[in-house]
């Protein structure tokens, strides 16, 4: 590593033909390395053979555009178009699929380069976790955690930040739902998603200025991927919950003459009550019915895409998480026995949530010339969320939700891209219009939002260096209606500001490092300004604050990656200072007809988040590979030195994988052992001094939690799988030893243990 830094040559003095291409060849379906694959550059007839673990390296190449042809026994050869301005290190995926003809995968320069490639999950890896919730599927990525509400609601946390600060890009469109609360999961069918990654800094500017916690990009398969009729069937069956999910898709090109492509997809999910290590959690079932389709048409100049998806979900909320007041919570925390829940059921009773989400998207791409292109995107989202309390009132036989939000969002974006020599420029404008209406309890007022943004991002490559920089301006406005303002005289707010980021990246032998600096901002969200009322599950009154100002982050991060021999190392360190960080702060004890409750007012303090993400993968021997990973995050309220609640505890995980010999029809069988240790969150806020505060004898702490952070825990998992013809089969055991534990990142940790052992069988078929 020292040598790598010492060997930095002035980039301009670099001789032109000393670039290299290196990487690893893998199976796109299984993620298995393809040993001894042939890698060949068509233009200059340079070629090498990968080693037994799929690694290869071709040296002494001049800058330019090349076609890489990769071959492997059992796969059809595939060609990859690459543009070489600096040494390239990336993974190449070959399809074992005998239906897919030799095709060109056009690599978008400046994006797919190994060094710039964001941390993400490939389709093959995603297949092994299909059927899990979307956020849980990302949990294996460095820096990623999940924030849960019970067993069925899970949302991603990146480097300690989530909800309003983490933008999810579903199929290129900013996901718009009531995602601000921890009990609101992203309303996305995970079976539509083929690939996921997190981006931050310069790469996030194109999408949003308010993604202080990064952007999670969830993409479906490329509609123009294959001319042949192709499809897939996924299924996942779990012992815990006694249910599972199935999904099917079919895609292809309408005819050889007509460049019209289509894809249809649908999925169903049903799970019953989840079991902890010893008892069933009443009313934790879930049901989903989702479908989507896409149509695409393209020629040399234009490409047009239409996408539509519909998501419908019903989620039971754990029956005994719904408490009346602080006394009830105190009784539960002091060990009050919950009524017997020894039986299993599929029934979804009150309290439950019923959610519909619809996305319609259309995109037009125009290739202006060989160097530049234009794209226009329009999307409309419709989100209806109905929440039913434990004992609501039914009017005229109709079950009426106690909380009902309807959010309609229209968004549009125009982007101009230009690649000239070593320069890659993107300039764009975006607009968003949001209308939210509620019925029932007025926790959130009715409102309308407008957002207009302009951005420019430039990537410059010279020699071993790459410089990325960009800026974005956004103007956000909000009109707030009943019950805060009225239709004629709304309360109005306008915020406008600039976000900017710069990153320098340096290629080193078999790797790179990146130093990135960014400043982003976020206007206060409507819930932070105007939410008002009682949160039943958390025994707290939440009060918005209309006087909130924007919050602004100043982030520095350093990432280092290197492949040496059979080892891959990735390390990131980051510091995130947030000025005017908005959070609910305990302010008072308030008396209501249900008794006394602590009241949280949205306030602003300065916050500091910092952390480390480390990952190490090693091919120990021919058939053995190991992976070690950890994500550490620390957070402090700089204004008063207290801790924030729900900051992920330190977690360490390791896995060992053994690749067996093929046996008859069973191809590429493997066994994998996973061990994970999560520490107790020792930087948790103090425990609420109930008795003293309720008696008026103690001052309310500046930050507190209702219960101490749960103890640390070990979890063990096992996975085995193989392929039989076009089927891939895998078996997974989670929480193998049926450990009883509670998760600090689950809001229901006050009431219930985490799920016990779960066996999942997955059978996938692709053609």
């Amino acid at each position: 590593m020292l040598c790598a830094f010492a060997c930095i040559k002035p980039s301009l003095g670099q001789s032109p033909c000393d670039l290299s291409i290196s990487g690893r060849v893998m199976d796109s379906e299984t993620g298995e390395p393809l040993s001894f694959a042939g890698v060949f550059i068509v233009e200059n007839k340079l070629g090498v053979q990968a080693d037994s673990a799929g690694f290869f390296r071709i040296k002494s190449i001049c800058p330019g555009s090349y076609t890489l042809r990769i071959t492997h026994i059992g796969c059809l050869p595939e060609k990859f178009e690459i543009r070489l301005d600096s040494s390239l290190n990336r993974d190449f995926f070959l399809s074992h699929d005998d239906h897919v003809l030799e095709e060109f995968v056009v690599v978008d320069e400046g994006k797919e380069n190994y060094a710039l490639a964001p941390i993400g999950i490939k389709p093959a890896e995603l297949e092994l976790v299909k059927g899990n919730q979307l956020a849980d599927q990302t949990a294996n990525l460095p820096g990623v955690n999940t924030l849960k509400t019970g067993t069925n609601i899970s949302k991603p946390v990146f480097r300690g930040l989530h909800s309003n600060r983490l933008i999810i890009l579903n199929n290129g469109i900013r996901q718009e739902g009531q995602y601000w609360g921890s009990e609101h999961a992203p309303e996305i069918d995970s079976y539509v998603v083929n690939e996921m990654s997190f981006v931050e800094g310069v790469d996030a500017l194109e999408h949003a200025s308010d993604a202080l916690g990064g952007v999670l990009i969830a993409s479906p398969p490329d509609i123009f991927k294959s001319d042949k009729l192709n499809g897939s069937f996924f299924s996942s069956f779990s012992s815990n919950g006694r249910g599972g999910s199935v999904s099917g898709s079919i895609a292809g090109r309408v005819s050889e003459k007509l460049p019209l492509y289509f894809r249809f997809q649908g999925s169903l999910k049903k799970l019953g009550w989840i079991k902890t290590s010893d008892s069933f959690l009443r009313n934790t079932g879930t049901e989903e019915v989702n479908y989507s389709y896409a149509l695409g048409w393209k020629n040399d100049v234009f490409d047009v895409e239409v996408f539509y998806s519909r998501f419908n979900q019903e989620i039971g909320i754990y029956r005994y998480s719904h408490l009346g007041n602080l006394t009830d919570l105190l009784e539960v925390l002091s060990g009050r026995e919950q009524p017997d829940t020894l039986g299993f059921s599929y029934e979804i009773e009150r309290p439950f949530q019923d959610i519909d989400h619809e996305l319609f998207k259309t995109r037009l791409g125009i290739k202006l010339d060989s160097e530049s292109s234009l794209s226009f995107t329009y999307a409309r989202q419709f989100n209806a969320r109905r929440e039913y309390d434990i004992h609501g009132r039914n009017r005229d036989e109709e079950i009426i939700p106690e909380l009902y939000y309807v959010l309609t969002t229209h968004s549009g974006q125009a982007v101009w891209k230009s690649t000239k020599g070593n320069n890659n420029l993107r300039v764009g404008a975006s607009a968003l219009f949001r209308v939210n209406n509620f019925r029932g309890r007025g926790f959130m007022p009715n409102y309308r939002n407008q957002n207009i943004g302009f951005f420019a991002v430039n990537v410059n490559a010279f020699g071993l260096w790459k410089l990325k920089y960009g800026a974005r301006f956004d103007r956000y406005s909000a009109d707030v209606f009943e019950p805060v303002g009225s239709e004629d005289a709304p309360e109005s707010f306008v915020f406008g500001n600039v976000a900017a980021a710069v990153a320098a990246q340096r290629e080193i032998e078999n790797g790179d490092w990146t130093l990135s600096l960014s400043t982003l901002w976020r206007p206060p969200a409507i819930n932070e300004q105007f939410s008002q009322g009682l949160h039943h599950g958390v025994s707290a009154i939440e009060q918005g604050n209309p006087d909130l100002e924007r919050e602004r982050s100043w982030t520095a991060s350093y990432t280092f990656r290197k492949v040496f021999n059979r080892n891959t190392f990735l390390g990131s360190a980051y510091v995130n200072y947030i000025n005017g960080f908005i959070f609910p702060k305990p302010t008072d004890i308030e008396l209501t007809i249900r008794g006394a409750f602590p009241r949280f007012d949205y306030s602003q303090n300065d916050a500091l988040y910092w952390g480390l993400d480390l990952m190490y993968t090693s091919q120990l021997a021919e058939a053995f590979s190991a992976n070690l990973k950890t994500s550490l995050v620390w957070a402090s309220n700089l204004s008063n030195g207290t801790y924030f609640i729900n900051i992920p505890a330190h977690r360490f995980s390791g896995s060992l994988r053994y690749q067996l010999e093929d046996a008859g029809v069973f191809k590429t069988p493997f066994v994998e052992l996973n061990i994970e240790y999560t520490m107790r969150q020792y930087r948790a806020p103090v425990v609420f001094p109930y008795e003293a505060v309720l008696e008026g004898e103690a001052v309310l702490p500046e930050s507190f939690d209702f219960a101490p952070a749960p103890d640390g825990y070990f979890l063990t998992g096992l996975r085995a799988g193989c392929r039989v013809k076009r089927f891939s089969i895998s078996l997974q055991a989670e929480n193998l030893f049926n450990t009883t534990y509670r998760n600090y990142m689950n809001r229901f940790r006050y009431y219930a243990d985490e799920p016990g052992i779960n066996l999942t069988a997955r059978i996938n078929y692709k053609f």
């Binding site: 519909r310 309390d389 019925r439």
Partner: protein, 204 residues
């Protein structure tokens, strides 16, 4: 050639179907319910204790009122002032009075779901020495267990200053828990609290 035509027709069908779905779906939602604003169907703002002195026929009420719901303005709570020695008949009324033009009586709903509800009337801070509260034995649910909407309050001495009465409404309590039938609220009762209010008590 023939085969190709068939597959073309098939694709055309799929295409037509797809467009159909688009149109239907979009139409569906454009006309979709934008829910009009409406009050919280579960909001409780007022609890009223209606006192009747059967000897004199006098009746009066004491009220806990938080008309803007949780948060916002603090609630107003009457002090209960009683004479002694008197036996009062007391009935509880629960209202949603957030809209003064449309006061909703929630007592009926509690009566309808009497099996799932019980009021506990707790004498606290020494109030037990001067006040005795018993359920009206005729005020029972279908299982014969008390509901607590109607009760008898018997005063037997003067208060000294700190005495109070706490009224708790539990949803889905275990009415068979020890003491529950006599109005004792132990941990075994369980369920969840719908109402919990405390009144200062003065007996003159």
């Amino acid at each position: 050639m023939m085969k190709m035509n068939i597959s073309k027709t098939k694709y055309l069908w799929i295409l037509t179907l797809a467009l159909g779905i688009t149109l239907v779906s979009c139409e569906d939602d454009d006309t979709d319910e934008t829910p009009p604003t409406q009050n919280d169907p579960e909001l409780i703002t007022d609890l009223i204790l209606n006192f009747t002195d059967p000897d004199t026929g006098d009746s009066f009420e004491y009220r806990f009122s938080d008309s803007d719901g949780p948060g916002g303005d603090p609630p107003s709570i009457d002090d209960i002032i009683l004479s002694q020695p008197v036996g009062y008949q007391v009935s509880i009324t629960v209202q949603d009075a957030s809209d003064p033009d449309d006061i909703e009586d929630i007592t009926e709903e509690i009566e309808e779901e009497a099996n799932e509800h019980q009021f506990f009337l707790l004498v606290e801070n020494g109030a037990g020495d001067v006040l005795d509260i018993d359920y009206d034995p005729t005020d029972v649910d279908l299982n014969g267990d008390p509901v607590g909407l109607h009760s008898f309050w018997v005063t037997s001495g003067e208060t000294t200053g700190n005495e109070s009465v706490r009224i708790v409404l539990r949803h889905e309590p275990d009415k068979t828990a020890p003491g529950a039938a006599q109005g004792e609220l132990s941990e075994e009762v369980g369920g969840e609290t719908d109402i919990e209010v405390e009144f200062n008590l003065t007996i003159e």
